[in-house]
């Protein structure tokens, strides 16, 4: 049984929604009733069947519509996809990783046939059937990174590893939580993290970098990050902030349930075999408050997390303007009962 792909939008009429099964599999990011930045990295090993961690690269019911949204963003702003000249090999590494992972996990939707360098890729949901020569850019309609990431949910950063640091030298970024690839490209790990409050002082980035520099091929790692978004909008870029920013003023007690979304990023880290670079997929999952509170535990916990969040973090995540309204709304879903440890719904 394959996935039934939804036809939906992440802009204009915002018809995005999660099916009941997708609500259950949502990667809720809080394992306790409070939140603080930490080096929350763990091995990217397979999770329970049906969860977003079942497969190394998750494909879900939003796949086709997300790829349509990405195409719209790229048509408007080609600077969302950039690759410095030395990153082409890493792009091929990424193409291989994503094609093999998809074909293995979802044979009913994707297939890859390899005869030496002659590859045949079939992507049924998007109606793609291409033959190309691995390593020969002229045989693909885009560069290898852009070609495969136009067919893969989530943003991707390709990092070059040199001088004991990671350099953001390529990427495709159309579903981001308010940061600019065009501005950050070419920066190192500390530089692109410069705007984050509190975490530098806690030594989080020094420890995180040390970990990342040692990620081994075949042993990927992952972490969750989160923020909130008004309306299920994927493209919350700084480039378009003047267009989506006004949404934050539209939150009222009556519309919190369908306007306010928890936005969770499943971030993973993979060593690439030929280039020795790293790829950092940032996969975004959205869930409306109405959908989220169908789990009593998640409702209670999210209320407590948002209520007690340090102001600097709330400001950095852009919650300030509607935080009080949200807390008030969530409080009606929190009876004060204790929550069980761990991420899952009850």
């Amino acid at each position: 049984m394959g996935i039934t792909f939804r036809q939906e939008t992440f802009r204009d009429d915002f018809s995005f929604a999660n099916s009941p099964e997708h609500i259950r599999r949502f990667p809720f990011p809080f394992h306790e009733d409070s939140y603080m930045y930490a080096v929350n990295i763990e091995p990217h090993v397979a999770g329970p069947k049906g969860s977003v961690l079942e497969h190394p690269i998750d494909v879900d019911e939003h796949y086709v519509s997300e790829m349509q949204d990405r195409a719209l963003v790229l048509a408007e702003d080609p600077l969302r996809c950039q690759s410095l000249p030395h990153m082409t090999l890493a792009g091929w590494d990424l193409l291989e990783l994503l094609m093999t992972a998809k074909a293995e996990s979802y044979p009913e939707h994707f297939s890859l046939t390899r005869d030496g360098d002659r590859w045949h890729w079939v992507n049924r949901p998007l109606g793609i059937d291409d033959r190309f020569t691995f390593g020969d850019v002229a045989t693909l309609p885009y560069g290898p990174m852009e070609y495969i990431t136009r067919q893969s949910q989530g943003d991707f950063c390709l990092l070059d590893q040199r001088d004991g640091n990671l350099w953001m030298d390529a990427g495709i970024v159309t579903t981001q939580a308010d940061w600019s690839l065009d501005f950050d490209i070419g920066m190192n790990f500390f530089e692109w993290h410069a705007p984050v409050p509190l975490a530098h002082e806690k030594g989080i980035f020094t420890r995180a970098l040390k970990f990342l520099l040692n990620v081994q091929q075949g042993r990927p790692a992952r972490r969750l990050n989160w923020t909130m978004t008004i309306n299920p909008r994927l493209d919350t870029s700084p480039e378009n902030y003047h267009k989506w920013g006004p949404d934050r003023t539209t939150v009222t007690p009556e519309n919190v349930g369908h306007k306010v979304h928890l936005r969770v990023e499943l971030q993973s880290f993979w060593r690439l075999p030929r280039s020795n670079g790293l790829v950092f997929p940032i996969r975004c999952y959205l869930i409306s408050m109405d959908e989220l509170v169908t789990s009593r535990k998640w409702a209670r916990r999210l209320h407590r997390v948002i209520r007690d969040l340090p102001d600097e973090i709330a400001a950095y995540k852009g919650l300030t303007r509607y935080r009080a309204t949200l807390i008030e709304w969530l409080s009606a879903h929190d009876d004060g009962a204790p929550t069980s440890p761990g991420f899952g719904p009850d």
């Binding site: 501005f183 902030y241 920013g245």
Partner: protein, 199 residues
């Protein structure tokens, strides 16, 4: 000196005479003083192999005269950084191995000249920088990508698209600019007054 709290911002040093025969100085406004101070410590004949590119801006005209008095092999005085860039790129492109580069003055000048030097393949380690004078920032509008020069206020109006920008403490060496993000995107009716912030 600018505060060092901005992690993505380069750390500037102090010019000092480097070994080698060929030296290229690029400076604007008070940056001339950094060259003159360094000259006091330079060995005899140092400037015989030196080129100086200087943009006086609103600095005291005597600074240009004193630079000339160092008798460099070449002295160029330009009306603006933008006007000086094409010839600077040409000089860098035809530079011989071992050229030492010295950048002094405003952050905008250092950033742009650094960018040109790196693009020309000059190694990081043969470039020295010293910040002097105004703390005015070069700001890239994240929305329209246009660059506004010599920004001293917070917020500032983008010279290209007209959005009112908050100047973030986030600096890109590649673009040689700070990032400007619309300050009243959420509610355009909020118009915070512009205050002198970077002098």
């Amino acid at each position: 000196m600018p505060p060092q709290s901005i992690i993505s911002r380069p750390v500037y040093g102090m010019l000092s005479p480097q070994p080698g025969r060929e030296h290229l100085f690029v400076a604007d406004a008070q940056g001339a003083e950094a060259i003159l101070d360094m000259a006091a410590a330079a060995p005899d004949g140092f400037f015989a192999g030196a080129q100086i590119v200087y943009i006086p801006r609103d600095a005291d005209p005597s600074l240009a005269e004193r630079l000339k008095a160092l008798s460099p092999a070449m002295f160029y005085e330009g009306p603006s950084v933008a006007a000086a860039m094409p010839r600077l790129r040409q000089t860098l492109a035809t530079a011989r191995m071992g050229l030492r580069v010295y950048l002094a003055g405003t952050e905008g000048l250092i950033g742009q000249a650094m960018q040109a030097a790196l693009e020309a393949g000059i190694d990081h380690s043969s470039i020295q920088t010293e910040h002097r004078g105004s703390l005015a920032r070069r700001v890239q509008c994240v929305h329209c990508k246009g660059i506004t020069e010599d920004v001293t206020t917070q917020p500032v109006t983008c010279a290209h698209c007209g959005l009112l920008l908050f100047v973030r403490d986030h600096y890109s060496r590649r673009i040689a600019a700070f990032q400007g993000v619309c300050i009243n995107a959420e509610d355009p009716s909020e118009i915070p007054p512009a205050e002198e912030a970077f002098r």
